[in-house]
Amino acid sequence: MARALRSPLLHFLVLGAALVAFRARFEASDGERPSIVIAARERARLREAWTEVHGTPPAGAVEERLVRDAIDEEVLYREALARGFDRRDEAVRERLVRLGGFVGEETAADRAALEHEARRLGLAHTDLVVRRQLVEMMRLASGRVGPEDLPSEADLQAYLAQQAGEFAQPARARLTHIFLSAATRGAALPADAAALLAALRASGTPPDQAVRGGDVFIRGADFDAPPAELERVFGAGFAAAVDAAVPGGWIGPVRSAYGLHLVWVHAREPARTPALAAVRGRVLHRWLRERSAARAREALAAMRARYAVVTADVASRGR
């Protein structure tokens, strides 16, 4: 686990989230829910902002996404305020000090006084920069994973088993081939291949007797490779022929970009799940990333449920 603690991704997630010492916990509230209203005016504003950036108005699905994002942003903002993030976050306070200096009547260089002045003017609730910072802080906080979340060996094993497809080592074939070069043999190529194949089969010559007929192939005679790699080496169609072969006999001739091949498949292995030790770094990174995303998603859903959301419908478009 010491290795996991040095993982850059973990630092990345934890550093971001460590700005607030906060562990998300969300319960449903009692009584009447506060409401969030996205009126037609809001919709129009979202449409305009999009159009300004992209040059064209948003398509229907895009507009719905914009509305959803706006609701989420409002939820996150209110939750951040409810938790007093605006009083604890250094970046927010720094911003308020600056704003206090710009707009307040207070002239003293006393930072606390400047911040107080900004708050008195309601800037903690109206300044766009503060708002965005609070939204992002809330986002980070709700998706926070920390050292206490590090998965156990069993967690990782289970995750690897569950996501076996993602981490699978590809199927592979071990083979020896005899190459007959189109460049060297020209018109005699098919006949040469057929005759050699017949001779090999008749004599029962296996490849491990260290003899061969044929031409020399630049990438060698022995391969231990997944189908995708065989396709890249020999060209399209080669892997399918290997896949269809019964191991322990000569097959062919198989066509490649270079000529014909007589192939002896020693063994084929199906795709398999690797040992955790071999993929620990990848599994852990993926696990942490997914844990963080899922936690943020769940937290946002829980928070959203605490509000009564009212949106102007699409019919009000263009009014």
């Binding site: 910072q133 992002e136 020999f234 490649s256």
Partner: protein, 783 residues
Amino acid sequence: VREAAAAILVMLAVGAARATPPWQRTETREPCRSSTLLRSPYFGDLHIHTRFSADAYIYGTRVGPRDAYAFATGAAIPFAGDDEAQSRSARIDRPLDFAAVTDHSEFFGEVRLCDDAGSPVYDDVQCQLLRQAEPPEEQRRATVAWLFPAGLPRPEHHHICAAPGVDCGGAAVSVWQEMQAAAEEAYDRTEACTFTSFLGYEYTASPVGRHLHRNIVFRNHHVPPSVSSYVETAGGGIPQGFWSAIEATCLDAGTGCDAVIIPHNPNLSGGMQWVDPIDASEALRRQTLEPLVEMHQVKGNSECRFDRLAGVGAGTEDELCTFEQLAEAHGGPDEAPPPIDRYPARNMVRNTLKDGLAFERRLGVNPFQLGFIGSTDTHDGAAGSVAESGWAGAEGNNDSSPARQIAGRLRANPGGLAVAWAEENSRDAIFAAFRRRETYATSGTRPVVRFFAGDLTPVACGSATFVRDAYATGTPMGGELGAVRGRRGPRFAVWAVQDAGTSEAPGTGLQRVQIVKGWVDARGATHERVFDVAGAATSAGVDPVTCAPRDAGASELCAVWEDPTFDPRERAFYYARVLEMPTCRWSTRVCRAAGVDPLSPDCATQAAAAGSPFTGCCLGPGDDPFLDPLVQERAWTSPIWYRPDGIARVRGGVRYGAKPGTDRLAMRLTLARLPRKLDPRRRGLEIRVSDDDDILAVTIPRRAFVRAGPGRWVLGRRVGPVRAATLLLDGRAELRLVTAPTDLARAERAPHLVTVAIRSGTYQASHTRLWDVRGGRLAPGGR
């Protein structure tokens, strides 16, 4: 059958067993199932930008490093459409074996902060410039505003970094950590070895628009905690300030960090990519830190340049040097491209290599001993997206439509690939290939090319032991040679096989193989010559409908060649250039889809009907110095350098004793010409014999050799394990040494590659061959 039976050949035993590769494993991983001592070609891309690069972000690219590695391994990723919405999508034609994401390190922090809605500078004008979607013709303002500091002599971070509560350094570290996380997630550490990710980034010094850009590629995950860039290192010079930072934070840091620095597209450097070295030690520093050059990429080819309308080249008469040339010579503002006779010579790598020989003649060290790679320089995160057919572009919304591609990007091309000859697909193995320059560049296709030089007596085309014999009696691409056969000169063996292609796009056959020679004569003047060594300069053009070459070309070409102009006194380099048959260029395919056929006599009429963006479609050999509707894809192997004062021959080897501790190394090493710096009175002599370990590493201090006659020196005392040594210096140089009985069990008793290297002051030379085990001895197998 008779023929086949007669051709029965003894199976190649080497490579079947797992033998010691000449590098050490520096990371925790499974060894690869598929591994071979005599190496396989691995195809990769070492130049990839994502949204962490300010310019890529401005072009509308929003994918990150994780997406780039996913693209390299076969996943589809989104590309920016006209309005920068991520409305396009593409996938690679076939996966890569390795890749490095190399975002511009200068503004990591700024880009991250401007991309983060919670940052206090999110609404700053600088940030809005980055995010604002703009048509390509209006992007210049934003790009210049962002990249401007990279062109200043005293660059600073953008003003947003000075805002209160803003930590650009911390933000840059968070980007670097995200890049590390993405690379780790993409790296296959299992025995399947399906993909290798490398960590890296781009250093982007651009004084007055001269691109003196370099990528750094790290060997493993032991990387510095933060990146270095032009902004922090400008005071130390370009690129010396960057070199110093990398030496301090990586190479000399004692953390297990290792890296190579790769200059790229010197064609935009205004001749400044490689300036004259101030002395021999700076030349050696450059040779050590910068072993490779990225010679082909999206922004043009940098091998050599020939203007076909003027009938003149930049230091060359090679008419194949019209290939994928940009018009301009640097990225500076609003200057017309220079005429060919004023084109800066060292913008082109062949000229730089020739100058390197001239410097070596004067200084004893070649500062420009550069192996070759290609890569893309994609700004779409589209690692290895090099197919001419269906090219999705490389610069975000600049390539979002056929009209934009043809009107604005006609001289761009899909870029190339880096190919490394390595034992297996792992970071250590491929990085070791970078270090020894056993690499080649392609213009995007995947031919397989072997190139060796040396004695090569047993090497013959068609021989089953071609590769083994070549490693035993010669050096592969990227290496160096002494006077291996005296006045007769080395033999060269080149073996090229065409790209296998894909089911949609079959590979193209080969037209010919050339050997390009550069040399410096006794007066210090440099020369070059190109020899056709296999195939011939024939072409029947392409099928006007399918674009397939009318003459299919050869699936395989091979030659063993000797240089008829060889002069043992002249320093020289030789590299192989492999040419495919011509096919349709990407632009020809795009133009045709728009109803404009560059190959048709009616092209101009069709272009007029299709609209003004498409007039460029009809440019070709008749009216443009470089453009051609056909493309002759090609590969360039790293050069092999002939050095009169290089190691000509190594005799002797390890004799294993009957009991532990009784092994001996006895060796006779010959140099045809005495290196100027080799003087046992004035300088020590370092001798190293190594595979993955040091078999012998000893420094014989100056004055330890005692004069025993004219030109004859003997070791007056035992030095380390060396019991006796003789140095003969009579115009030639010969070193004989023998160790006392000692333990040399670390020299594995199996055929493997062994390097003998000597160094004295700034003089150094090396000799790597496949050593074989015979009768209790491990020794160089060939002559």
